[in-house]
């Protein structure tokens, strides 16, 4: 590297005073110093729900599934599968909130990227857990490797999900290396094992210009890679449904429909996470109102895109009212599921497409409440995609017990679903206690480079 470049870079760093940097480190690493009472209660609560889930799974696997689970031959894929779809969708938050913003030079991504990536990693792990919970013979999980057939979309899904998980983990870890070094140097009064862990994980990071070059290049390559991977995981997940001959899933629109829905869900999850961290860790200086303003606008965009694919998915078949899907559509539009269906559309698509157009609605609290609606509606949206259609196969259902015709999840199923949510939040919470949830160097770099967008925001 030429001397000139080094000089130029070092002068750049000098524009950012050491005091300012110390304050920033202090602010961002504060959550890791001590777990407060509220945090302890929160973690204990999540652990408790997770334990309940493990116990429910134990019951499910040791007792008869005919008794513990409400699934029958007609509705054979239940909340575990819709929960799986939900978590795969949620994992796309890493793609949108970190990779896409980074590559398109939206500088406000900086404090958000790590939050997005840890949510993505946690979600994809819990997607795996959900699918194992849905399996009839989890003891034969390894058959997927020893007897795996590439013809099956399930095998495609496993391949892309594993690749995405690995890439996301690396993409979470590599930008973490400088932060770990900062932790090691800055948080000296932490337990010894923790400091040792930081030292070990930072792999002798010294922050030389050469190391920075390698780090940035690696991150850039991974960032580019993670976008097609993220899109493929959710497209392939859509294909698990679209590759069957069942009328309710027989749609060429399904891949794009799933991916666009995942982006909307990702934005809403991001808003909820940003709001929570901002409040819990007092990060108002870093997770600013500007972020809510920007996220609100992204929410509108994503809701409009998702709305577009919904119109394609429902309006076209509804216009034709083919006998193959008419019962299912009527059931959704003004039948048994109508209230459910229209509420999901209202809270999940219509409100987020309209309300954040008003500046007042892009303030932290109203936007968070709106996002909570989008998030919950997002879960039920996957429920509506996976479940009601199964009760209306081509051949009529006759001579079966009444309970076979109507699926409503059992307590065991609800507990496992609740535990999967608790486990996801637990992973994110614990991560934020042991690692800086906001990337110190990325934020500092943003300030250093004096990004107009950040400094001049009104």
């Amino acid at each position: 590297m030429s001397k000139e470049t080094i000089k130029k870079e070092s002068t750049q760093y000098e524009t950012f005073t050491q005091e300012e940097y110390m304050i920033m480190k202090d602010d961002l690493l504060r959550p890791m110093r001590k777990i407060r009472l509220g945090g302890k209660i929160w973690i204990a609560f999540l652990v408790l729900v997770c334990c309940a889930g493990v116990y429910a799974y134990y019951i499910q696997e040791t007792k008869s599934k005919y008794v513990t689970v409400s699934l029958r031959d007609i509705t054979f894929w239940g909340v575990y599968i819709s929960n799986f779809v939900f978590f795969v969708a949620l994992s796309l938050v890493g793609v949108l909130m970190s990779a896409v913003l980074k590559l398109t030079n939206f500088e406000w991504y900086r404090p958000l990227s790590r939050i997005a990536e840890i949510i993505a990693v946690a979600a994809i792990m819990l997607a795996g857990v959900s699918i194992v919970a849905a399996m009839g013979r989890p003891d034969r999980l390894h058959y997927l490797i020893i007897h795996g057939r590439i013809q099956s979309p399930i095998v495609w899904d496993i391949i892309v999900i594993m690749t995405y998980l690995a890439t996301s983990l690396v993409l979470l870890y590599i930008p973490l290396i400088p932060s770990l070094s900062t932790c090691k140097n800055h948080l000296t009064n932490l337990p010894k094992w923790q400091l040792k862990m930081y030292k070990f994980l930072s792999f002798g990071w010294e922050g030389t210009t050469e190391q920075w070059k390698i780090l940035k290049r690696t991150v850039k390559v991974l960032t580019v890679l993670v976008i097609p991977l993220g899109i493929s995981i959710h497209t392939v997940t859509a294909w698990l449904f679209a590759t069957t001959l069942r009328a309710e899933w027989d749609s060429a629109n399904l891949g794009a429909y799933f991916v666009s829905g995942a982006f909307l869900l990702g934005v809403s999850a991001m808003i909820l996470a940003v709001y929570t961290f901002r409040r819990a860790y007092h990060l108002e200086k870093y997770l600013t109102e500007m972020h809510f303003d920007k996220l609100g606008k992204v929410l509108v965009l994503m809701a409009l895109i998702y709305g577009y694919f919904n119109i394609n998915e429902f309006l076209v078949p509804a216009y034709k009212m083919s006998g193959l899907v008419s019962d299912k559509l009527k059931n959704l539009f003004n039948g048994e599921e109508a209230m459910f269906f229209w509420s999901v559309l209202l809270f999940g698509i219509i409100l987020p497409a309209i309300l954040p157009l008003f500046k007042q609605m892009r303030k932290p609290l109203p936007l968070t409440l709106l996002s909570l609606g989008v998030f919950i509606a997002g879960w039920f949206k996957r429920y509506l995609i996976v479940i009601p259609g199964q009760a209306d196969p081509y051949l009529p259902i006759q001579n079966v017990p009444e309970s076979w015709k109507h699926y409503s999840p059992s307590m065991v199923e609800w507990t496992i679903v609740a535990a999967s949510f608790a486990a996801m939040m637990l992973i994110v919470t614990l991560f934020s206690k042991y690692f800086p949830i906001i990337s110190v160097w990325e934020v500092a770099e943003g300030r250093l480079e004096g990004k107009e967008e950040i400094i001049n925001y009104k």
Partner: protein
């Protein structure tokens, strides 16, 4: 084993004339005989029975070739279908030189549900689990309803085997779509892929589990199925009773039907039988305007339906709703 075939077809033996016999022999090829088909007439059964085979090799028998010639052959040159040693075949191997096919004559079904019961007995199933189902169908409001017995269609382009991630469900060379319950991981993707709801998942219903424990598979000759639907956490379905087929018997549903609604046979030999009557397959399909269900899905089922015209019974609605109990 040949005893069983004889027993179940005593009627056939008594009713058939010699002329018929000769006609039937036509489709029997020299040496390789109709394993899996019980259409073989009584006379032939005696000729090829075990006792005669054990005698000296010099003995000659007259048989009719495919070309219609009567020839004398060494008795040892003729094999009884049941003598074909198929025991080396695994669950995944088809019976050689067979393409099993089913024809369902909707004009004859009176919703007696004997096929359902026969199947359940054969496969150790307790209601409400049915591989064989009889549905009431009404295609349009103005047309008359009819009874519609279905099982797995053993499609030639099976959507279920395509999606299986571990190859637990497979297509055999004899046309049967089987399930390997020792391989199945219980993902139920095949159930999602099957447009005909032919598959059932073993959720481990306590009564069923108990029943399976007290009735182990293959406890008697009558109750014997290769594919084991008793494995909790796996998918199972109609398997065309491959154990019976390899022994030269008809599937359980065929013999159970009192009205001769269900026909079973071999596409390669162009013949189907319901145990009493035998038809040339292609002629029957042509003459009776046979169809396959939802041809447009491209699954190419191996089960054909004969439309419910000129019915044997007027349509009577069921007096009872079945399987109401959990």
């Amino acid at each position: 084993m040949s005893e069983h075939t004889e027993n179940s077809h005593k009627n056939e033996e008594n009713n058939t004339s010699d002329a018929n016999e000769a006609g039937r022999r036509k489709f029997l090829k020299f040496g390789v005989l109709a394993a899996g088909l019980t259409v073989v007439g009584g006379g032939l059964q005696k000729v090829f029975s075990d006792e005669s085979k054990s005698t000296l090799t010099e003995e000659k028998v007259k048989v009719l070739t495919a070309e219609g010639k009567v020839v004398e052959v060494n008795k040892n040159a003729i094999a009884h279908p049941a003598d074909n040693n198929l025991s080396h075949l695994t669950e995944r191997d088809g019976i050689p030189n067979r393409k099993f096919i089913m024809v369902i004559d909707l004009a004859r079904c009176a919703n007696a549900r004997k096929c359902v019961e026969g199947c359940q007995k054969m496969h150790n199933l307790l209601p409400p689990i049915e591989y064989m189902k009889v549905r009431k169908m009404q295609d349009t409001p103005l047309t008359s309803p009819y009874w519609f017995p279905t099982a797995c269609y053993h499609c030639d382009n099976p959507p279920c085997t395509k999606v299986c991630p571990v190859g637990a469900t497979f297509k055999r060379s004899d046309g049967i779509v089987g399930v390997d319950s020792d391989r199945c991981i219980g993902c139920k993707f095949c159930m999602a892929a099957c447009p005909y709801s032919a598959r059932t998942f073993n959720f481990g219903r306590p009564e069923q589990v108990q029943f399976n424990e007290s009735h182990p598979k293959c406890d008697t000759q009558e109750n014997c199925c290769v594919t084991n639907g008793g494995t909790v956490g796996t998918v199972s379905k109609c398997d065309f009773c491959p154990q019976h087929l390899s022994e030269g018997k008809l599937p359980a549903c065929i013999t159970a039907c009192p009205n001769g609604t269900l026909f079973f046979g071999d596409e390669l030999e162009d013949v189907v039988t319901n145990g009493e009557e035998t038809f040339r397959l292609k002629k029957l399909l042509k003459d009776r305007s046979a169809y396959r269900e939802m041809e447009e899905l491209g699954t190419k089922p191996r089960v054909y339906f004969l439309p419910p015209v000129k019915r044997l019974f007027p349509f009577e609605d069921a007096t009872k709703v079945y399987n109401t109990q959990e």
